[in-house]
Symmetry: none
């Protein structure tokens, strides 16, 4: 019910490949089932500020077992989860965080990607998640 | 003018029963009159990110002696308490936090619940509060 | 490879019983395999400042899979782990934190106890751990 | 005057190899010239609490361009840098952090390793540093 470092390395390799394919430079973080960092890579030239964001996206996706963007839709002004970002030492609720599931469908961790437009961040996270 | 651990355990038991009745998995926190954690339980499979949120909801409800959702109505953009969530190391102002009152009507603590839609969170918090 | 809330409640019940038997008032925290809080109870009249300490003891014991007091022996001035307490948002390295093991010997969480002399804290933590 | 992700991956591969050779399970962090995390890997079964420590060791080594253990000798009670660990959001000043130098002798980053006795942590960090 947890992922291994070998899994995480495979995920990061797939994410880096996708990032290069769409000509972006990403920070890529993988957390385990306990939402603790398992592996991380910052591509050369990627935004420094995205380092923390990628880790927070991965944690956020595992904290609630859903894509980070789905939470962001509910945390807008007037939304049911307004300002949920103030919890857990800071959540990131825009796209780029995706839960990782094993073949049985259990959430065993999450990937968080940051460094470009959020659509690209999400696409790279998805590519990483599919490698599991 | 304060609640006991036995009270808190009764409250958590009632909240867990309600959570199961509506098929949800909740984090349940009870704070005392000083807004300090008194008892906590995370049901199996409940969201990890709701741990911190449930505690923050309980604290928020006791900090202001009102339901958390009532504060959230005032903290929206343009509202009189805009971004009050940035105080006190992070408030949570959507539903799920409810003050606990003794038979004389004094606030003696609060319960915070997180793990589902905010309506469910509030219903479980109410069920817990009624057990006092 | 993880403990359930029912396990944690059994552990806290046993710890409370031991605390009463030796006439102490304790804060008792149980974390899971991911070092995240699973259950907590503060006995009536227990020190408020021990709330945070009990949680940090539980986390510390799981972070390093050993009794907290064993770390404290190495973190003294001149010791090999001097000032390790500044990591992980604050460790507590005196006695009172004990790992929880399943029947296969795997660490599946930890208990942290604070509220009296550290010998008493450790004795109560041990009593809790044995209930698993 | 900075290291690349490819460098960091080579360093982590060498550190993992050494960790396995001496039968340990390590957290391995590499920071760049700006002391910002570049790559990270937590070996399966490694201590969770060493995650933060490995990153802090790497940052500490780059903050002062020396082995972390050398700082720890000066930070003891009565020493010239007593309690320097309280700066920079928490330093770790026992062995396991080593600066990374390019062929010209410039410090271009640092490696931090945590997960065993500090002598082992340092040996693994050295093995990683030599791979640059």
């Amino acid at each position: 019910m947890n992922i291994t470092l070998a899994d995480a390395e495979k995920i990061i390799t797939a994410a880096k490949k996708k990032a290069k394919a769409i000509d972006t430079k990403m920070n890529i973080a993988v957390v385990d089932a306990g939402a603790n960092l398992l592996a991380f890579a910052r591509m050369d030239g990627a935004w420094l500020g995205s380092l923390d964001i990628s880790i927070k996206k991965a944690k956020t996706a595992r904290f609630f077992d859903m894509n980070t963007g789905a939470i962001g839709e509910l945390s807008q002004p007037g939304g049911s989860l307004y300002n949920i970002e103030n919890s857990n030492n800071g959540l990131i609720t825009f796209p780029g965080g995706v839960p990782l599931k094993n073949s049985a469908g259990d959430v065993v961790g999450a990937i968080g990607v940051s460094g470009s437009a959020v659509e690209n961040d999400h696409a790279v996270a998805e590519a990483g998640a599919k490698a599991l």
